[in-house]
Symmetry: C2
Subunit: 445 residues, 2 copies
């Protein structure tokens, strides 16, 4: 993409309404624009990151054997009356009447609707285990929306639901979700710690939240620093191997890690003092086992091996897709702007032409653009007639992890400069070397 | 994907509520489930086709140089008061009050919001031309939703908006849209004819609708059969070449083609009689030029080359993404089920194992699965313990264009059978030959 043909409305001023870094930087980098309180338009750069996050979530869910579908944003009130939640949910549910006077709502979550889909088609244990998920816009009418996409009202979420014959099978689904979530966050460059949590309005017995450590987090968290050393990295995971999944779950849930809601000073005191940490965290996901809480009232039953009709055991599992942009930026920025992890960056490399209009520089940039694209990577070429300082400032603000700088002196010597946004270090090399280096860096992403 | 692990709830019975083939077949093939009147859940198979259509639309829009962003589903009423449409729009607009009593609406279209985005950031002719688009769920509260996704209330649409300095530049954008739409429909295996149309509530001077010929179409259409011979095929299109775009537009708009709304018997009579056709058509897209209708009231002005502030010339251009599934099925099915064009098929090939549990057949199917995947194609392997007839019926119903059948006799002779869903013709060949053939078939898609 050439910047002269893109729509990247970066702001020079820091918007007064933004209280936290991610909100400020998303506005300044031209990623989002507020449409109404807690409701945002995703400008082109923001949409690219959102789609990257969505892609990673999809890939890891499909790898775990979970099946994607898509439920609508609007739901009828009747299903929610069956579960008893229509009256119980409170003012965060956006209630709507259509032209015929039918009561509807903008889905804040989908337990009822997915249970209805399940009960409509599945009647035998032979069709289990089954986990269905979708990534869809949801609405929660927050009293005080704030912090940009971190606490918006219209937000994109992945929510998945497992259907299993009994508690033991549902626990395998629980572990599958935990492991797939760990991998998902790692690919985004995030360290998200599973913490024992309260169940809240969805209702559950076993539940963990995933928290990213950041000063601006809404929760206070207490943990054993040993958990920070855990990595899935390139461990081979077999999602059909229940024992392996359980062992990974146990590895991550044995070290103490809890939010203020479940924190227990007595248990925390048993952690060696030098490993006891208190911090703040941003919730980026949650997994729940809630048994037959919805399958019983909604009649989602299957015949078991003996031919008896039993309610299925369910859980629901969510990842805050749009919120993750905020969390990633909170965890990865400096005073010049965003620093995207390679896994989610909107463009793989920025190309800065120091002398636009100079034949040799223009040709070199076009050549780099083509070579980068030939490796399956997407460059953003700043081809505007602007000062070098302004071009660097834009690249630093929007946070592409790598930049190639092309100037007349370097080109005369057959060299360009490859710069890491994270370290600020630059290295001179030929175009071929720079492209090869980039391909190697992104090979694992 | 293996069918035993998928969620494909095909129905044996024809649902009574479905009046047209596409609605019936989408329900029977387990593609959609009605959630409320005119509101559907997209089951896994339906979602895959929806995503394929979305991908083609995105690719062709980006190829035309149009920039994707994403506006929210809910909008504030205030912007619509600026354009005067809040009161004018009528009952199809779903109006909502949030917990603070603020008036909102579920967007039926986005002229106001995109104009607001434009006016917030762009102030000079130097940033033009600019075309922004998104693919987002919309809501129109139809009095009588019917025909499944063809006339639903919550529907997925691509809507794009061009911003240009003057009429001439806006006409180039108009032509760019016409050409990119022609290519989009062709890639989906559709012949969509641009027909001169009425402007309707968006308001416009130059406008064409794209109609797919089908008996169940809602509009009566009149056309010169010469237009059926026009194909873009692999013609190289340069979207920066205004003259080429205009010539393609002219090629497609010169033969008579109009809907009943703009039909003129006198002009039609000039078409040679043997080429005069009357039929019915399904609208799958529309392009509009409407000048300064929104930029004036909303104050979307830019400085021109003389430094004068002038309102931008705009147009809006839509493709009915979810509706296209219905249109494709209406245009491509038989009494056994759907026949997907290669460009949008949910899986590239079905694998039918005639003797599940037979070691040689199972091994051959697994091998085919792996070889097909290695070509970047996605197989659906029916690995259920079912009779051959049931497996064939499912494959015919869900409409994968190609099927590989594996049976014990063939395998003993080193052969499998490759069958075309469209012609029903089968051919025996080795696994390698079948895979090579499939790769060649899909190379252009």
């Amino acid at each position: 993409m050439r910047l002269s043909r893109y729509f990247l409305p970066v702001l020079k001023e820091t918007p007064a309404e933004a209280q936290i870094a991610s909100h400020r930087l998303m506005l300044r980098a031209g990623m989002i624009k507020q449409a109404s309180a807690g409701i945002y338009s995703w400008l082109p750069l923001g949409l690219k990151v959102l789609r990257n996050i969505e892609r990673i979530v999809n890939e890891e869910q499909e790898r775990a054997g979970h099946v994607p579908l898509l439920m609508p944003t609007l739901q009828g009130a009747d299903l929610w009356r069956e579960s008893g939640r229509y009256d119980a949910y409170g003012e965060e549910m956006l209630r709507i009447k259509d032209r015929q006077g039918r009561e509807m709502l903008y889905g804040p979550t989908n337990e009822e609707m997915i249970t209805d889909i399940f009960r409509s088609y599945v009647s035998s244990y032979k069709d289990l285990p089954l986990t269905l998920y979708h990534i869809q816009w949801k609405f929660r009418d927050e009293m005080r929306p704030r912090f940009g996409v971190m606490r918006g009202r219209e937000f994109l979420m992945k929510d998945g639901y497992n259907f299993d014959l009994d508690y033991e099978a549902a626990m395998v689904a629980y572990d599958r979700h935990m492991v797939s979530y760990l991998r998902t966050y790692e690919r985004m460059g995030l360290q998200a710690i599973p913490m024992r949590a309260d169940s809240g309005p969805i209702g559950g017995e076993d539940t963990h939240e995933f928290l990213v450590l950041a000063e601006t987090g809404e929760s206070e968290v207490f943990y054993d620093s040993a958990i920070l050393d855990l990595k899935l990295a390139d461990r081979a995971v077999d999602y059909d191997d229940a024992a392996q999944l359980a062992s990974i779950r146990s590895e991550w849930t044995t070290p103490y890690a809890r939010t203020d809601e479940t924190h227990d000073e007595g248990v925390f005191a048993e952690v060696p003092e030098e490993r006891r940490r208190t911090s703040r965290g941003i919730e980026v996901g949650q997994i729940f086992y809630f048994g037959t809480k919805y399958s019983e009232p909604l009649g989602a039953m299957v015949a078991n091996e003996k031919g008896e009709r039993v309610p299925v055991h369910m859980g629901s599992h969510g990842i805050g897709v749009s919120r993750l942009l905020g969390a990633i930026i909170e965890a990865s920025h400096d005073d010049k702007g965003i620093i995207w992890p390679e896994g989610v960056t909107p463009f793989h490399v920025g190309i800065v032409n120091l002398r636009q209009g100079d034949a040799a520089c223009d040709a070199a940039c076009a050549e780099i653009e083509a070579q980068v694209a030939a490796k399956g990577l997407e460059p953003l070429y700043d081809d505007r007639d602007e000062r070098a300082g302004a071009k660097f400032a834009t690249m630093d603000l929007i946070g592409l992890p790598w930049r190639i700088t092309v100037g007349p002196r370097g080109i005369a010597a057959g060299k360009v400069e490859l710069t890491s946004r994270r370290t600020g270090e630059s290295e001179e090399m030929t175009v071929e070397e720079a492209v090869t280096r980039l391909a190697a860096i992104y090979a694992g992403h």
